[in-house]
Symmetry: C2
Subunit: 365 residues, 2 copies
Amino acid sequence: MPRRLESTPRSDGYHMPAEWERHDGCWMLWPQRRDTWRDGGKPAQRAFVEVASQIARFERVTMGVNRDQYENARAMLPPQVRVVELSNNDAWMRDMGATFVINEQGDLRGVDWRFNAWGGLDKRMYFPWDQDQLVATKMLEIEGIDRYAAPFILEGGSIHVDGEGTLLTTEQCLLHPNRNPQLSRAQIEQGLADYLGIRHIIWLPLGVYEDETDGHVDNICCFTRAGVVVMTWTDDRSDPQYARSAAAYEALMTARDAKGRRLEVQKIHQPAPMTMTPEEASGLDVVDSAFLRPEGERLAGSYINFYIANDAILMPIFGDRQDAAAAQTLAELFPQREIVQIQAREILLGGGNIHCITQQQPAGG
Amino acid sequence: MPRRLESTPRSDGYHMPAEWERHDGCWMLWPQRRDTWRDGGKPAQRAFVEVASQIARFERVTMGVNRDQYENARAMLPPQVRVVELSNNDAWMRDMGATFVINEQGDLRGVDWRFNAWGGLDKRMYFPWDQDQLVATKMLEIEGIDRYAAPFILEGGSIHVDGEGTLLTTEQCLLHPNRNPQLSRAQIEQGLADYLGIRHIIWLPLGVYEDETDGHVDNICCFTRAGVVVMTWTDDRSDPQYARSAAAYEALMTARDAKGRRLEVQKIHQPAPMTMTPEEASGLDVVDSAFLRPEGERLAGSYINFYIANDAILMPIFGDRQDAAAAQTLAELFPQREIVQIQAREILLGGGNIHCITQQQPAGG
């Protein structure tokens, strides 16, 4: 049933809906790399089980698993989570998975981006990433959904959309020479327009300090509804994050969206700076071909890396004194949704958070 | 969504429908073992592509593939065949796959049999079979269908049912000490009743000569509708198959089905005895832990190993002078269905045929 299409979503009348629009379900991948996840992946697996279990209260969840972890994942996950074989090199479904697009009739299709493990051979997170590259194809095959193969590199975490024609991203990531050096800014903008059906791009200069993704937008800022964004902030001018958040704020305050609206910009204060402990670092395999995660490394902690599920927000918390205020702000921004707080340090240790490990499948018509 | 159930299909009101009842689709697995399939699996892969392509004219087909063959299978198969990752040790979906059962409301569930590679450690076809054992679970997870885990060994090819309470099998296979030596005939009959919802068993003594499955019924005899069976036959009294077919015929002529009916028994003359050629045998890897397939070995060729699809019969042919008569008999037995003839020697070389590599998923209500 699934076909590979040679046209583009835009030419066929498809666009990426906003994350807050109704979902058919959520896709995740199971963590197991010993050089990303400490102690053989066990603490991260428990955190992923918590995320999947909580999302499954609100929508269907499918967990993709390598074959050597299939039985363990099936045993650790509750029965309402569907487990399927879906080979991968690591567990960042947001970045490896298909991005779903929809047309006015409610038909779904998938966009399969090229993937180079966040930077290719010069600055990769690991090698190889051959199985990651096939994740989007395989999830679309399981669902029987047609596929567009986009001819450039993109990770799902590097974009956010309002579903009304506006895309939010960072120059740090999308214009980085380790992604698509052969493409100009104008060509990248055209690619986003063609494959996501958007008409206007808001560029932020930088992502979160020490974010190993080269500044994915989904850790610094996202839409909460059309015309409203929320971003990570710090009042501490001595923190390297300050200038980054200030620059983002300035860009947002002067921006207009695709419909010509000015944006309402909400801030959430970041958690206090966190670093990897010696015990955490010593739980990782050291592998020459993978990104080194030494003790003392600053972790790119942010409350913005949440997932919008049907009727709920799944937000990371860190046992920080800012946790409560962050949850309060999200409750005000999403008054119709339950705010589910998840202790997420074990996900953050791997280099991302709840939004990075999830990918929504919109509800069809 | 999928659950593992601790009850039995019979106690829950489920039974296995006949193969000629409406299908939602067909499951297959992709051949790649170099010790089963000659020349690196390429000739068999072409034959499986032909089977899948032909079935896909009549019903949805899903092909399960190991990850190292995913891209090759996707490229060789037509787009209308769905390809999913489904790790396996070999490609006999009939024997490793789930057997579907249905209730009066049209709800589907799956039976997951124990599997020991046709004989366990003493007479296995290969070692290990760890991935085969998980095939049924995984296909049911993909579909979100609840699962019964049967507590005994059974391959789907060792049974046929009429959907009205009757099961057809062979003593050679189901009572073989390499399957369930701890169970008596009465206990096996109870297990079949509990997990397939059947009320009466017709036992044939033996399967086809030199059939390496220990005499699976699906190579010697099957129902074509309630009250009618078709079996493989030979007029050559010097052929070792003669006594086997004669014994089956005698058992069938004296049998009654679950509804008390006598059976109408149709015969199809077997193809002339075939053996593995030196060229074919030399295309196989020799592996100590796997079944040896030497040149000159008699192949268990039979026209009975066909698949009943929606509106079609997929039958094996061998370039034999009996091909046309076999097709004619099947056309008479299935007057409403198109008879699709498939050159199947490459499947037979692996030890089975079209019925062995397919598994129907009945249509739900």
